[in-house]
Amino acid sequence: MLDGGNRMVPLYVWPRGDVMRFEMEPSQDLGLRHVLRNGISVLQGIEPPHGRERVLHGLLEIVSDADRGADVLNAQNLTFALDNKPAFERFSLFVRYLSDAFTDLPARLAEAKTTLTRVEAGENVGAEDVRQVNELLTMLLEALERERSLTPLPTMRDYNF
């Protein structure tokens, strides 16, 4: 639809109940960075500033989504990316930054999900399992920081006046 100035009129809607992820570059996402940073602290036995439960919940959501994404992609569901955007994006996040680091990334994600679920439930978890999750999260965090550091600054035309 055109208004008097021949401009298209898009509609911006904040949907109710429909869960979508925000489409921000992961390396620019402060929430993701904080949840990884805090998650690593929790696994190292350090109490985060805003409570262990909240951190583990956020972390588990990311890893669970990614694990689900890996499962469905393995099933070769072609419409998966459309139907499960959050899970697809989470799995893409790990693939993008860690596919070279781990030969079997889906398996690592599944193990991480199991370990984090047990940690959240307060169960005793083996030191090796914790170390493996820590390694996964640390490498992701480092990759994000590296990308942010190496990303060229935007040019002046990116300013809106």
């Binding site: 401009r7 109710r16 979508m20 402060l30 993701l32 500033p49 990116d158």
Partner: protein, 401 residues
């Protein structure tokens, strides 16, 4: 960059965002929709969170490593806020009238959609339905400000999900002495008061290309430049962009036809963002504001699409690759009534309080300002002003006034 400098830089970024939020709150939105206000609440919450990080970083008890991390986090969250603010572009009643929003709203109501909605005008090819979800950001960031928590809860109460696509962070301007030279260098020589001879050299794949052209203006260079910008002091904010486009197109038509043809060729050869350097004897005409008016090119003002600078040959014959350090001076005009510049005054006060700048009387005439900038008075403070103008890649000293 020291932590303190980075902290000040981030504080400035946040202060400007805060001022912009205040300005946007004062606008009228079609149908008095609550959506833009709620959106601005979220932005304010992000800004407050960033300010909290900076306050914490300034605490002497915080170690340098942690302080550095906090400053970086504040800059990141300021980027988030900037991105959210961009989404409001085109939403106020001046950009999209209620005559359009009203029927849309009735349509949405008729469909039983209970979401919070805001409408905006944009140059896009189709209707756009954007969904936002910032819950992960709000829930996961450390030390979220109360205002951010409140804003997030307010949207949650109504069952809305807020999100943000894309990225467009603002970046500090950096001086890089060893940077590669421009792809296009345009030399402009004056033949008398109203005529110019242009000569350009372009680095293209496989070598260099050269060209020349001449123009004759109807009036002197200075009068031509002043005629372009005469309307600026009385320009209304809503017409600013449109008027500037007109100015840019006038400049495009005034440029030599050979240059215009060459520019279209360069776009095909070099892409849309190659650097351009103007070196000109005429200190008045802002050629970098030129806006190529070519169908299908999609070009904006040169200084939007290209890294562009103009060197005033007659005033400063020696081009430099380093800038001497000087004092920081703040020139903020104090206009009254409709010409008042409240954001500029806030910014000026911030420059004085945070950077130790000297508040200068902003009544210098063009000639006096040029005198200071060119350091013809022997006053070292001119270096500071020159640094400011050159750092910001803003045209030439004359325009500072």
């Amino acid at each position: 960059m020291s932590i303190e400098s980075a902290r000040q830089s981030s504080a400035f970024f946040l202060a400007r965002l805060e001022a912009e939020v205040a300005r946007l709150r004062s606008l009228t939105y079609p149908g008095h929709h609550p959506g833009p206000g709620m959106w601005l609440d979220l932005v304010s919450g992000l800004v407050d969170t960033g300010k909290g990080y900076l306050t914490k970083a300034a605490d002497p008890a915080v170690q340098d490593g942690d302080a550095s991390l906090l400053v970086k986090d504040s800059e990141m969250i300021a980027n988030h806020a900037y991105i959210l603010l961009q989404k409001l572009d085109g939403t106020d009643a001046d950009q999209i009238p209620h005559q359009i929003v009203g029927p849309f709203q009735r349509w949405v109501d008729g469909l039983g959609i209970g979401n919070t909605i805001f409408f905006r005008a944009d140059h896009v090819a189709n209707y756009e339905l954007a969904r936002f979800d910032l819950r992960a950001l709000v829930n996961n960031v450390n030390d979220a400000s109360q205002s951010l928590v409140d804003a997030a809860e307010a949207t949650a109460i109504e069952g809305d999900i807020v999100s943000s696509p894309s990225e467009a962070p603002a970046a500090p301007v950096r001086v890089m002495p060893d940077a590669a030279g421009p792809s296009v260098t345009v030399m402009i020589f004056c033949n008398g008061d109203a005529s110019q001879r242009w000569s350009w050299q372009t680095v293209v794949p496989g070598g260099t290309a050269r060209g020349t052209g001449t123009i004759s203006l109807d009036s002197s260079h200075r009068m031509f430049a002043e005629s372009l910008l005469r309307a600026c002091p009385d320009m209304k904010p809503e017409s600013f962009r449109r008027t500037m486009r007109g100015v840019g197109e006038q400049l495009w038509r005034a440029a030599p036809s050979e240059f215009r043809d060459a520019y279209v060729t360069w776009r095909g050869l070099l892409g849309s963002n190659f650097p351009i350097q103007f070196v000109t004897e005429d200190p008045h005409i802002p050629w970098e504001m030129m806006r190529p008016d070519v169908n299908g090119l999609g070009a904006d003002h040169l200084f939007f699409n290209h890294p562009t600078s103009r060197w005033p040959l007659s005033r400063a014959p020696l081009m430099r690759n380093s800038i001497p350090q000087g004092d920081v001076l703040s020139f903020v005009p104090d206009y009254n009534g409709p010409k008042a510049l409240p954001s500029a005054k806030i910014e000026g006060a911030w420059v004085v309080s945070a950077l130790g700048a000297q508040q200068m009387e902003a009544k210098a005439t063009r000639g006096v300002t040029s005198h200071i900038v060119d350091n013809r008075s022997g006053d070292s403070r001119g270096d500071g002003l020159r640094k400011c103008t050159e750092d910001c890649l803003i045209r030439k000293p004359d325009e500072v006034s």
